[in-house]
């Protein structure tokens, strides 16, 4: 990198969230922002403060204190444990902010993200012919900080030609701090060595040597530093001279989006969980929206008390970003299968997909909004189950009780509305299918059902003369409820239906259209293998 001229050196920005564990917590619980709050790491006696809000810092709470020490300084101190889940989500959100500005983004953990700014602050973008590059970078830095703010993370920005200088610049007040190209070493030299965050034992040694600033350290001969301080000392020395030990490594975008948090208290009821879950879902959908994506499958990971995990996966019929829908799906899922133990933490993982888009027509009928349709289908799935919602399709074969369902995805509407005259119907008689076919007792005249089938096929067929429910049969209730009974006025038939004789479920039927004296017209059939009668439709 140093071989390039200064003008050619690529510029990097560092987006840094100070007190990241606290910022991640406050992103999930923004109402605590004005309270005296400390984030603790560790268990029991070993727990130490890692970050504190301004109110707590004013009372003297600082990193490294134990909980009793902190409480002694600030009796009203609220305390939260460090939450890996919300930190991971905040980290992802920060990366997405950077993604919106640059395609090359590296995450350095703990609230630090680097962006490659090459080619971004181009003068033409801002509508001015010749602008000072520093002013452009400053404006870009302000935009970056504002975007991070919108994502709920108060970030500072540093811009320089090396990762380290950018990171140190981002740590300074007065954000954004711009380090002009080629002046990294000069920028670092007067700063205290603590800005490089050396290991504790190294910093003690350096202090004994009388090395105070980064510049003092950089002036030491590197071979001597390496022989005395070892590998970590050598790396720190390289860094102090303004050289990047590691180049920028852009990350791959994740295939999933996650939001979640660990809870302070286990939750045993669903309402408080949904209350907290709603905020997490809102953050998740906002992230999906910024990436132009929508949720196709939502995974729910619940951490249970005292131990155990529960993973649920909720499929959506179409990509959706509707928080209300997602929340009601989660509610229905949890109500149908309760976790069985209090919940102490959760993660929502969204598998994204592109949302459906629709082309609007000026003169044709209006199309359904794909977003709203997806949300409605999801809610219908939750209400009735996926096997009861869809677009009907005829199946292969002739059994009328069979039907197939496919996902409802209507084609775009025609561009011009049809005229009313072209809409005239065919006046065909419909049949209400009875699913499953209802068993009946049918009195016939002519050769009975027990007659030899060979002989019966040649003689006049057995004609139904009366229909009544089968006493004690499976469908008796349904037949009695529908009042399918009475003498037959006219019977037309039989028509044979035979299909699937090569399968386990063959059909060999003899169909009759039957008008009862009450006036209703039914479609009956006799199963020729068993001789039983069924009603499978009502002409209506």
């Amino acid at each position: 990198m140093s071989r390039k001229s200064d003008a050619d050196r690529s510029r990097l920005a560092c987006l840094f969230v100070p007190l990241f564990p606290l910022a991640a917590r406050l992103r999930s619980e923004p109402e605590l922002i004005r309270e005296a709050l400390a984030i603790l790491e560790g268990n029991g006696q070993a727990a130490r403060v890692v970050a504190a809000t301004r109110a707590a810092r004013a009372a003297g709470v600082r990193p490294g204190l134990s909980l009793p020490q902190a409480r002694a300084l600030c009796p009203k101190l609220a305390v939260r444990a460090r939450d890996a889940t919300s930190e991971r989500a905040a980290e992802e959100a920060l990366i997405e902010v950077a993604d919106a500005f640059s395609p090359r983004v590296e995450s350095a953990r703990d609230g630090t993200v680097f962006l490659d700014l090459d080619g971004i602050p181009h003068a033409s973008l801002r509508g001015a012919a010749a602008v000072d590059p520093a002013a452009l970078e400053r404006a870009l830095g302000q935009d970056l900080a504002a975007a991070a703010d919108a994502a709920g993370l108060p970030a500072r920005v540093g811009i320089a030609s090396s990762k380290l200088a950018a990171r140190v610049a981002a740590g300074l007040p007065g954000s954004p701090v711009i380090v002009p190209a080629g002046e990294e070493a000069a920028f670092l030299a007067p700063l205290p060595l603590a800005r490089l965050a050396p290991q504790v034992d190294l910093s003690a040694t350096l202090e004994r040597w009388g090395v105070r600033s980064i510049g003092d350290f950089a002036r030491l001969p590197s071979a001597e530093v390496a022989s005395r301080l070892g590998r970590s000392g050598s790396e720190l020395h390289t860094v102090a001279r303004g050289l990047d030990p590691h180049p920028l490594v852009p990350r791959e975008p994740p295939p999933t989006f996650e939001e979640g948090m660990s809870l302070e208290w286990p939750l045993a009821t669903i309402e408080p969980f949904l209350f907290i879950g709603r905020a997490a879902l809102e953050r998740l959908t906002r992230r999906l929206e910024s990436a132009g994506l929508a949720c196709l499958r939502l995974e729910l990971d619940l951490a249970l008390e005292p131990e155990g995990n529960l993973r649920r996966s909720i499929e959506l019929p179409a990509p959706s970003r509707d928080v209300k829908t997602l929340l009601s799906l989660i509610r229905l899922d949890l109500e149908a299968n309760p976790p069985g133990a209090p919940v102490i933490g959760f993660v929502f993982r969204s598998h994204p997909d592109r949302p459906r888009e629709a082309q609007l027509s000026l003169l044709g009928p209006a199309a359904l909004s794909p977003d709203r349709l997806a949300a409605t289908l999801a809610r219908l799935f939750a209400l009735l189950g996926p096997e009861r919602v869809g677009s009907p399709r005829p199946t292969d074969g002739h059994r009328p009780e069979r039907a197939a369902l496919v996902a409802f995805a209507p084609p775009p509407p025609p561009l011009v509305r049809e005229r009313a005259a072209e809409r005239q119907g065919r006046g065909l008689l419909g049949v209400r299918a009875l699913r499953p076919p209802l068993p009946l007792e049918v009195i016939t005249e002519g050769p009975g059902p027990n007659a030899n089938p060979e002989a019966a096929s040649n003689a006049a067929p057995a004609r139904p003369i009366e229909v009544r429910p089968v006493v004690g049969g499976a469908g008796e209730d349904a037949v009695r409820r529908l009042e399918i009974r009475g003498g037959v006025r006219v019977a037309a038939g039989p028509w044979a239906l035979e299909e699937g004789w090569w399968t386990d479920d063959p059909a060999d039927r003899e169909y009759w259209d039957v008008e009862l004296f009450g006036g209703s017209v039914y479609r009956l059939f006799r199963d020729r293998t068993t001789g039983d009668w069924f009603a499978d439709g009502i002409y209506d």
Partner: protein, 281 residues
């Protein structure tokens, strides 16, 4: 951001000329230059202002269209009531077919799980535009219908199946809520029930009476089911006169007889009476 966009195409100190009014739009050539088909759809703002004409959804059944003055009114609840073999389900299929064939999506809320997709296709329905929802109870049917109206379906048909209806008639408040949802969305809502269910929520009620079944037979040939007759009667009409009725004939899909021409509308003799079919029906 906005500032950046604004300055991209003009300077704040720059004089910006007014855009001259386009005389061509006002000239008599304007709308007349359009094809006839397009001109029929064009309305001036003044025309629209005083317009109270309701939008209609043709049903595909000339008889029903004439009874309802042109079709199902969008934004209102219409109820069809009819017993077994009264042709009520055939009417539902025709309405669904007419709507989907015109390229509009439609939803069938089928409480009795009675739809045979092959029959619906034979009736001319475009199944890809039909959403089939099979609730288990009337409450589920009401909830599902409200969701579908909210999603913007221009037609929702609720078929309550055969009597007795699973879960009773539903709560009247539920039907009123649906009627309001339909009005808010401008959707046509058709309720098909074996007996009056929607109460005061219905803007129009059409009653279907069962007619005679028609059987074909010549000499000693087998009997063939040819179709059903029936009568449609307008029982209730909000803001209009009720009592008109007309004969209707449904032909069996298996029978190749040509469709009968639509029967004339019979006006009621007195206000509260309408002609009944013969007792033999």
């Amino acid at each position: 951001m906005l500032h950046a966009v604004r300055t991209a195409y003009y300077d704040s100190s720059e004089e910006i000329p007014e855009i001259p009014a386009n005389e061509g739009l006002r000239s008599p050539l304007g709308p007349r230059a359009l094809p006839q088909d397009l001109r029929e759809r064009m309305r001036s703002a003044r025309e629209l202002l005083g317009k109270t004409e309701r939008e209609l959804l043709p049903t595909g059944l000339p008889v029903l269209d004439r009874l309802l003055d042109g079709g199902l009114p969008r934004g209102e609840l219409v109820e069809v009531v009819g017993g077994r073999s009264s042709g009520r389900f055939s009417l539902v299929l025709e309405v669904l077919a007419a709507t989907t064939r015109a390229g509009e999506p439609a939803a069938l809320i089928d409480l009795g799980d009675h739809l045979d997709p092959a029959r619906a296709e034979a009736a001319g329905a475009d199944l890809s535009r039909l959403l089939w929802v099979r609730p288990r109870t009337v409450e589920q049917a009401l909830a599902a219908t409200e969701m579908l109206l909210g999603a913007g379906f221009p037609l929702a048909v609720v078929d309550l199946g055969l009597p007795p209806v699973r879960g009773g008639r539903g709560i009247e408040a539920g039907w009123l809520r649906l009627a309001r949802a339909a009005a808010a969305r401008g959707a046509a809502l058709l309720v098909s029930a074996p007996y009056r269910a929607s109460g005061t929520a219905a803007a129009a009620v059409v009653e279907l009476d069962r007619g005679n079944a028609r059987w074909l037979r010549s000499g000693s040939s087998p009997v063939l089911f040819a179709g059903l007759g029936g009568r449609l009667a307008l029982e209730k009409r909000r803001g209009g006169a009720a009592g008109q009725s007309a004969e209707i004939a449904w032909r069996s899909a298996e029978c190749l007889a040509p469709p009968a021409p639509p029967a004339p509308i019979v006006q009621p003799e007195r206000f509260f009476e309408r002609p009944r079919l013969a007792a033999s029906a």
